[in-house]
């Protein structure tokens, strides 16, 4: 049983996405359902304690960013516990479109942001410093309720 929720992402070419996500992010394909024509009916890729589901566009309302001008209604955040810079280098080498290079944020995470080949946006973070809520509020000027 995975710890988190499962993001289900819509692609024009889910098989290409499966291959790319393995190469770029190190996701592992653990389940693939194909119909008689070899189309992806359902798939699950595992990473850490969680997994994502990679599927086809399946209605006029469920579209790849590639089909809707690069827009994203949701994105996937990946929290790792080691070497976000190595993760970044691997994704970049695989052709990820880099939106933000790894940078340490005011709340103590080192984060980068990229798009995959069909325009889905991914963020990847590693916690590198312990920051209190008071410190984060002072550094950002934001009102913060609750803290981790």
């Amino acid at each position: 049983m995975s710890a988190g929720f499962r993001s289900a992402l819509f692609y024009q070419d889910p098989k290409a996405a499966l291959a790319w996500l393995e190469e770029a992010f190190g996701f592992e394909l653990v389940m693939l359902l194909e119909d008689a024509d070899g189309n992806v009916a359902h798939s699950q890729m595992e990473f850490g304690d969680s997994y994502v589901m990679i599927g086809q566009e399946w209605s006029a309302d469920h579209k790849s960013p590639k089909s809707v001008g690069g827009k994203n209604t949701q994105t996937v955040h990946v929290q790792i516990d080691s070497d976000v810079d190595a993760h970044f280098a691997r994704a970049k080498a695989a052709g990820a479109e880099i939106m933000a290079e790894p940078e340490t944020q005011f709340y103590g995470d080192r984060t980068y942001r990229c798009r995959d080949p069909e325009g889905h946006i991914w963020t990847v973070s590693q916690t590198v410093a312990s920051v209190s809520r008071e410190e984060a509020e002072a550094a950002s000027g934001l009102k913060i309720t609750g803290w981790r």
């Binding site: 929720f5 993001s7 008689a36 359902h42 309302d61 690069g70 955040h77 939106m99 009102k143 309720t145």
Partner: protein
């Protein structure tokens, strides 16, 4: 709850026009609990963590830059959805969500692969699916039931 060291590896981030409204709605409809909300002082939310059953989502908005958009201003279209796997109480959760105004798209029904599932749209039309395993099937049984070839 809300412990950064125990963040699951994967967390979905959803864009909303009215993020504070969405947080209140998700608490009421699905039973989420807000562990953290970071407000911009102008009615917007730049980060939040909402927890349910060991999983979390981030609710942010209004959308800014980077091609971000809410389905509410995008003709009801979406580029991802969130799936929540329950251990129990699927029908009760569906009733709670419906009472809160969720648009139920697929009513709770047993699927050939052994899960009971319902799907719905939330207050800004993001799609959600909820599943609960009611019969544990082997891969061979699932292949026979679905007609799909399954690789594991």
């Amino acid at each position: 709850m809300g412990d950064r060291a125990r963040l699951p590896t994967i967390g979905p981030l959803l864009w909303y026009q009215d993020a504070m409204g969405a947080i209140a709605w998700l608490e009421r409809a699905f039973g989420f609990e807000a562990g953290m909300v970071v407000e911009d002082g102008q009615g917007g939310v730049i980060h939040s963590e909402l927890w349910l059953l060991g999983g979390y989502v981030m609710v942010v908005g209004p959308p800014v830059g980077d091609g971000a958009v809410s389905p509410a201003t995008f003709g009801g279209r979406s580029t991802q959805s969130v799936h929540v796997q329950l251990q129990s109480g699927l029908d009760e959760l569906c009733a709670r969500a419906r009472a809160a105004g969720a648009k139920i798209e697929r009513e709770p029904a047993d699927q050939p692969y052994g899960d009971r599932v319902f799907t719905c749209r939330d207050v800004e039309d993001h799609p959600w699916s909820f599943g609960q395993t009611v019969e544990k099937l082997s891969v061979a049984q699932m292949e026979q039931a679905t007609g799909h070839k399954i690789k594991v």
